[in-house]
Symmetry: C2
DNA sequence: GTACGACCTCGAGTTCACTTGAAGTCAAGG
DNA sequence: CCTTGACTTCAAGTGAACTCGAGGTCGTAC
């Protein structure tokens, strides 16, 4: 019943942005509160978005897939030029950095898989000898956020001799 | 001052398990509350652990690195034989399944990297054409837990034709 | 026997990225 | 003008995997 398209061609309502981007209105408000996107307001205090917010949201979602936190994404977005609308080159410059990050993640994952392969035969799961349990890279980039596999004060883990 | 090693050779205190495994006592209590590990108690209600709890904890931590939730890990551990101490073969059997999971994660990550490579030139970040934003695999296994990149009701995202 | 560190429970707090709900306002078709 | 859906704010809730603190007990060396 109510028009679902603003035909002015200029500004988008939060509902339109949500439908076009696949991001819930609640998330859009959240992003705004976090300083990731911005909007104008009507006289009645409703949000109106410029069209290029869609590209910004795409950037955010892809960056999340790459593994960035919203905090990192905010810092990345802060490097966009102020005043003018970002160009294709601006966006490409930012996303170029992801490549190295993805390569690193891939490397860690491959290493984990290979360690696992060589360990499956032995089934040792030992704190002292097992590479699976004692990766030298420290942080594991998988699971819920990046958390450390081992505590820092694990002298016993390292120092313990066989027997 | 106080003995830091129980020389009975039989049971371990929570502090010893923590030191040897690199897992905090609070986490060990948490795992017990969650049914992932078990312990006996002294007459004074303190925990005493059998030595093979160390292997169980190693299993848990490695499984987390592979990307399993504690819930999945609990279900995996439930398949261990009851009564007898698990053998090396028991542990190997459980961890063999991780291989496929890691391969799948690697595949998704490689695909994301390749999509990114081919997109960096264009910098499009477009909701309609960009493979980065429209992966067919649906869930992204990165970042905080597994969440969906796109909402389910994103008809506009999919159905929108150019211009 | 006393000191002191290690241990106990239980409830609340943390982080991240949102979602949900309540209570109320705006905008546009009819 | 009225209805209805879309919008507003703000506070609180979610879930995963823990951590922290308070208030109290245990266990061992001296």
């Amino acid at each position: 019943m109510v028009a679902s398209v603003l035909v002015t061609g200029e500004l988008l309502t939060i509902g339109e942005v949500a439908r076009r981007s696949g991001v819930e209105p609640s998330a859009l408000r959240f992003y705004e509160a976090e300083g990731l996107v911005s909007s104008e307001r009507t006289s009645g205090n409703q949000r109106r978005y410029h069209r290029d917010v869609l590209r910004r949201i795409a950037f955010i979602r892809i960056a999340q897939r790459v593994g960035l936190s919203l905090d990192e994404i905010r810092r990345a977005l802060a490097e966009l030029p102020e005043g003018r609308t970002p160009t294709v080159a601006d966006w490409a410059r930012l996303s170029k950095r992801w490549r190295a990050r993805l390569d690193e993640q891939l490397h860690l994952l491959e290493q984990l898989r290979d360690d696992l392969s060589s360990c499956i035969g032995c089934g040792c799961l030992s704190f002292r000898a097992c590479r699976l349990y004692n990766p030298d890279d420290g942080a594991a980039a998988l699971g819920t956020g990046a958390r450390y596999l081992l505590g820092d004060s694990s002298a016993d883990v390292i120092g313990r001799r066989r027997r």
